[in-house]
Symmetry: D2
Subunit: 349 residues, 4 copies
Amino acid sequence: MFMNSDNAGPAHPKVMAAVTRENEGWQGSYGADAAMARVTATVRELFEAPEAAVYLVATGTAANVLALATLTQPFQTIFCAPAAHIHEDECNAPEFYTGGAKLTLVGSGDKLTPEALEASIAGEEMRGVHGPQRGPVALTQTTELGRVYTVAEVEALCGVAKSYGLPVYLDGARFANALAALNCTPADMTWRAGVDALSLGGTKNGCLGVEAVIFFDPARAWEFELRRKRGAHLFSKHRYLSAQMEAYLEDGLWLDCARTANSRCARLADGLRGLDGVSFLHDPQANALFARLPREMHRRLFAAGAEYHLWGVPDSEVEREGGPLLSRMVCDWSLPESAVDRFVGIARG
Amino acid sequence: MFMNSDNAGPAHPKVMAAVTRENEGWQGSYGADAAMARVTATVRELFEAPEAAVYLVATGTAANVLALATLTQPFQTIFCAPAAHIHEDECNAPEFYTGGAKLTLVGSGDKLTPEALEASIAGEEMRGVHGPQRGPVALTQTTELGRVYTVAEVEALCGVAKSYGLPVYLDGARFANALAALNCTPADMTWRAGVDALSLGGTKNGCLGVEAVIFFDPARAWEFELRRKRGAHLFSKHRYLSAQMEAYLEDGLWLDCARTANSRCARLADGLRGLDGVSFLHDPQANALFARLPREMHRRLFAAGAEYHLWGVPDSEVEREGGPLLSRMVCDWSLPESAVDRFVGIARG
Amino acid sequence: MFMNSDNAGPAHPKVMAAVTRENEGWQGSYGADAAMARVTATVRELFEAPEAAVYLVATGTAANVLALATLTQPFQTIFCAPAAHIHEDECNAPEFYTGGAKLTLVGSGDKLTPEALEASIAGEEMRGVHGPQRGPVALTQTTELGRVYTVAEVEALCGVAKSYGLPVYLDGARFANALAALNCTPADMTWRAGVDALSLGGTKNGCLGVEAVIFFDPARAWEFELRRKRGAHLFSKHRYLSAQMEAYLEDGLWLDCARTANSRCARLADGLRGLDGVSFLHDPQANALFARLPREMHRRLFAAGAEYHLWGVPDSEVEREGGPLLSRMVCDWSLPESAVDRFVGIARG
Amino acid sequence: MFMNSDNAGPAHPKVMAAVTRENEGWQGSYGADAAMARVTATVRELFEAPEAAVYLVATGTAANVLALATLTQPFQTIFCAPAAHIHEDECNAPEFYTGGAKLTLVGSGDKLTPEALEASIAGEEMRGVHGPQRGPVALTQTTELGRVYTVAEVEALCGVAKSYGLPVYLDGARFANALAALNCTPADMTWRAGVDALSLGGTKNGCLGVEAVIFFDPARAWEFELRRKRGAHLFSKHRYLSAQMEAYLEDGLWLDCARTANSRCARLADGLRGLDGVSFLHDPQANALFARLPREMHRRLFAAGAEYHLWGVPDSEVEREGGPLLSRMVCDWSLPESAVDRFVGIARG
């Protein structure tokens, strides 16, 4: 009943097998391995983007901040949601990598709206040289609260960005979960909608630790490579990153894993929906459920060994009297149906 | 009728005379001039702080960001008001100088409250290593909207900061205006209330361009000196900064200038108060008035050559139909009473 | 006959097996995995340093720059050899991570001498606030030219650093090779000799990609953790780093691999020594041989598929007429004796 | 007999008078003052560069590092002489402002040669993504050792830079002294020779504190403005910078001051040349003399109140036995002939 996060489960056996298989003989280092060439070809094909520049790094934060640093000048500001990982969970890595750019928080919560984005962008640069200049728009798909931007929503947001000449970056740590939810093509959700660069997460969805960074316009590819090296994120034995990503994208494994994760989450929601005192922040759209549960239900679950996070309050809160407490349950590909069912059983009491 | 800002008037004749007087013979460079030794002694006496480290720089932004960089680690966040100069008007200089620290916006508007500060500080570090760590609290006195923190308010805010072990920095670009308004001692408004470091502005109040940075605890003084040099803010012919500050602090000139500026602003408010369609954001407490005026009154004033800023809307807005528009009038020491009276006369129509 | 580098061979089967074994169930993320606790205990025991703080990252550059950034202020300079990896091969990562510190190149070549270090340190800070301040001394063991500092040499260099109150960092990307060569204890070569922090490399010696950073004084451990996160080097599925390092240090595997690599290199040197036109930059002390070979010998070797680097000249140089060309051959644990023998055979013609 | 530096004398009376004159009424702030428009026009005319972007800052270091940061990517290296101010005397400001770029020291001493520059540039980027990329070439005119690049020398160095597509920056803290020495036009010494950007120093040659930064190609002008603001170097009461520069450039005052300074230095050299035990590092070409004097002569001069620097050794050295000690005497416009003559008289004993 591990639903703390999707970053604590094992790698998919096919991914692990690929890593093991890769462990033969010598390979070019620093990205010159044969597997990387195949990964680039595969990503280009999947995204219908024959010119795309494709790079691998080992952490989602590295993907985010290296891509953003390539798109941002230090005197600019990045527009993002207040709940964005780049704002809340990267210990100032974006500020560090951009050389001191600012993050402008747009609206509230996890999801940008075109109206809030428009207002936020319009509001900057009223101060000329005194305020930060407008920089990239950063979306997260799926969002930190487990929601999914529809293709039309991505288009609308990119439209606002483009009307100001700003690039759009998409943090796709859970890209596959969103794609599985939307049932569209990678191209539809990205460059066709106006996205300029994205991360394509593997770590949370069946890999050991690998994320692809994709630039649809390769003009700044070399700069990215230099920033990756300067950030100490260029692996000498890069082959092991490549092998993971190759297996992950092969035969749709990435989407299979995402669909499994999403369906576990739906099953969990179905099991909890309608129980006394239970309500959802919103209906789950991918692999994360944000649910308010009665404290007594939390206690029962924790006592039975369920693992998940209370959201925005310390764990100790569960022992006190009071109303339902918001919690986050995240399902990854490895979570068995039986664990979901057991969780629901305990919740039902 | 120049009320655009307090950064566009002339220097006080006594300050200018001091600069001219200083222009004789050779002097030690880089702060080793005789006048600087006198400035340090004077500041220590005025602030009843015999150990204080005192430095001069030429811009308010330099004072802010060098002091903050000395107090902040790059993985921390600085707590400040959304309207703070360091957030809105320094083109990411704090992020640059701190090596990428973040600014956490506390509450709304220009003025911190202890409750909002407490909530904001408490909210950070729930994420351990993932989020930024708590850093300094930055106050602005007088605020960007011309308000003054009482000594009790400064004490309460510092109390919150201290309860978390955080240092407090005070942006005193208009320190003299606040002091004149509060009629307290410099020590009461700063170290006795819990302030660790501040800037003492001269530029907006009768100088050509000089600000003192004061650290009550000299432990990090040498680091400040290195950061000043590294920031390219150490003047070789430092004597001209010293001469300004010396004249500014001599015989209470700084407070005289501030009192004059504040009284001009009060006169302006008295003249506008109660006019049809006129309302104030708040009663002016120092040298800045934020007043909503009917558009037709704005047009009349602009036509007559009055200079001031519309606040938050482009100038062109004044030509359109609609309700009153908020404007900011700032008075400096050099604004004649007659200019205020003429302004009021035109406003009255 | 792959001797290009020790970063292109496979991981040792025991290391790979450990990674595969680790791929079961859920584990605490971000370093809270069970294996990491065991790694910390093992490192402390091996280094006889029960208080040491131990961290894992995935690249040698990350280890170097995160450790150095923790030890260096941005207005300081790091003393290192001109051939140091941090100077030549990290694309300004040290300057980036330290917030703009400088590297002062001491003497020439790959190895510091106490005399050159003393002169270099003494030479800095003659300019007071104008020049950079003295920062850490960075050693590389084994050096970029494959040489080993004896324990006495490390002690002497640390002695110079300590006499100025400067910390010493040791880049141990090839720490095991040095230890195998010196046949001393880890403690002797590090903290007992005066080293404050080091990286303990795994990547080049049998791992997929993992390096330990060790601080003997844990006072700045938390700062390191924040810098690691801020640098995007904290792995969510950290368990796979831990598993590598655990297997690497178990039952002396790290030293076995290093001894194998070193002995291959010795065999290679033995095979080439005395051949017509062949000379060595210095006798190999660990796993790298720098040898001048006649151009015709290079051509023969390259034609037969030998892989190694010409040093300081482009590969095309080998086709031109002229004297012997310097080359670097690096042996890793996976290089078979037969490959060495074949290489020698071709060289002998 | 003050020859410590050219940064410790008074401002020229005409410059001071201009500052005083400027102290009337209100002026646009942040560079929007009327005087700045005139300065821009004058600089463009003097440099025969009608498109040039012209900015003012208050310190030479600010001019250097803001211009270089505009021309340099953080993953590049700046080519400069080991004695360059940007390397030795700016406490890592270039590394700070560029976001961590490196400085590659070319050859030895104060002056670049085309051969050394070519070798140094060619040597970088042999390491691809691993080493820093080639960035700007930075010259200093006059050099730190008081020498002057001829126009042909500047052309040759720019030629090397251009052959690699690299921009050239000229640190002209003592530009006027060089111009006076060469008796050429500003255009000849700069853009016609291949210089892309320069600082035009005022501080050391009759001003209180002002340097112009000139970009011949205005393409990156706006970026410079943002970097200046972000660096806290944009003055609100900018008029006082403008007034200095305006007076400085008016009627050839800048060249008059430089000629005076240079001739004082020549007179000093003439007076010392040939004395027993006296030798020059090189014949003075502008306003600085580097002379080896017998220790007893130093003692006599110091005892009589002469002020100048021993070069590369602590002052205490003068009390010990030994050979002549190198010293630096710098003459500014304000040094009277009589002071020179008195100095020479004492030296002669």
